[in-house]
């Protein structure tokens, strides 16, 4: 496979590197409240400084073909949900094995196993998600973060294909490139029986029993919280967002 992020590979600077996927997405983008914001337009550029701080070395926009040439890439994604406004954003980081090792070594200060380096990549997407959350506060959004989860490049492509809007940026740590991708997905809140809730679901409404608030909307369920709901709210149909596929495995 080639690269699966929608990025203008000819772009060489920060502003030009942040692009919409195609004309159709651009049209959808114009209508979607998340993608209409100044925060959305600036996401790629806003992420580079905190990533540089995390890695202890400059992270700069680039046009590198390494991802496109590689058959072996790692993708870590994290879902952000604004339950009150019915919005979902998926932030992801895509890197080759070589870049993943380089990120791990830079972050952890030593040669790492691939598993440890992949964990370092998960921290990268964590920080990127933190940037998204902070950037949208002033736009009136309140996102709840999921946990980073490894997904396949095919799964990322499927998410991109169904996304309402997409923006991406290729960045480099030294000679090693990786891609940051941000997708606005279709709102996917669904009614589910309390006993079917598990780790990673995000409540789309306040959960009340006999009028008493059990858990507030926007709460991301840990397994402990989900267990408690399963035990106390049996039979109740709850409006909630499912976790990203990989997170629920």
């Amino acid at each position: 496979m080639t690269t699966c992020v929608a990025t203008d590979s000819n772009s060489t600077d920060g502003d030009d590197a942040v692009v919409e996927s195609d004309g159709v997405a651009s049209e959808r983008r114009a209508r979607h409240p998340v993608a209409r914001t100044a925060a959305w337009a600036a996401l790629g550029a806003e992420s580079t400084t905190p990533l540089g701080d995390l890695l202890g070395a400059p992270v700069v926009p680039t046009s590198i073909t390494e991802l496109a040439e590689s058959a072996s890439v790692l993708c870590v994604a994290l879902t952000l949900v604004d339950a009150a406004r019915g919005c979902e954003v998926v932030a992801s980081v895509l890197a080759t094995r070589t870049s993943t090792h380089a990120i791990g070594k830079q972050m952890l200060g030593e040669e790492t196993t691939y598993e440890d380096a992949a964990e370092a990549l998960a921290e990268v997407v964590n920080v990127v998600a933190g940037v998204v959350k902070a950037a949208f506060v002033d736009e009136g959004f309140s996102f709840t973060l999921g946990l980073p989860a490894e997904i396949s490049a095919t799964e990322l492509e499927e998410l991109q294909a169904s996304a309402v809007a997409t923006t991406a940026i290729h960045v480099a740590l030294g000679e090693h490139a990786f891609a940051l991708s941000y997708l606005v997905t279709q709102s996917a809140a669904t009614r589910v029986l309390a006993e079917d809730l598990h780790e990673g679901w995000v409540l789309a409404q306040d959960l009340r029993v006999d009028g008493v608030l059990v858990m507030a909307h926007s709460t991301r369920l840990t397994e402990g919280a989900a267990r408690s709901i399963r035990e106390t709210c049996r039979g109740l149909r709850v409006l909630a967002y499912p976790p990203i596929r990989a997170e629920s495995r």
């Binding site: 972050m107 933190g130 959350k133 309140s142 946990l147 780790e199």
Partner: protein, 122 residues
């Protein structure tokens, strides 16, 4: 003297440990837990002098851990290290008794500034 680091990421626990040493806290014994549930069990046994916890973790989150400590009447100084640093979260953390909420990425300097008022370097 012990510091408990709670984070589901092994990579981040390593970074926090290294940063603590750089910030002058290398003399503390470091204890680790991978989620709030494990931390709650560990705190009862190892009785740390400080808990540095991530917010978003599987099984039991950092804020659930802090709430559980309160309801179990366990008093231990507690600070968050998290990638989420909105005012709303700072307020929630403070309301539950956290001493600070330090944003990722952090440096030895910012870690030291957060810890110094509540924990002597060693």
């Amino acid at each position: 003297m012990k510091i408990l680091i709670v984070d589901d990421s092994k990579a981040m626990r390593l970074i926090v440990k290294r940063t603590l040493t750089s910030a002058g806290y290398g003399g503390y014994t470091i204890v680790e837990a991978t989620n709030g549930r494990e931390a709650l069990d560990s705190i009862k046994v190892s009785k740390p002098d400080f808990v540095l916890s991530d917010w978003n973790m599987p099984e039991m989150s950092g804020i659930e851990l802090l709430t559980a400590l309160k309801s179990n009447n366990i008093k231990v100084p507690f600070g968050f290290v998290t990638s989420e640093t909105t005012d709303e979260m700072r307020e929630r953390a403070k309301d539950q008794g956290a001493l600070f909420l330090l944003g990722k990425p952090f440096t030895a300097e910012t870690m030291g500034q957060a810890l110094k008022p509540v924990l002597n370097p060693a």
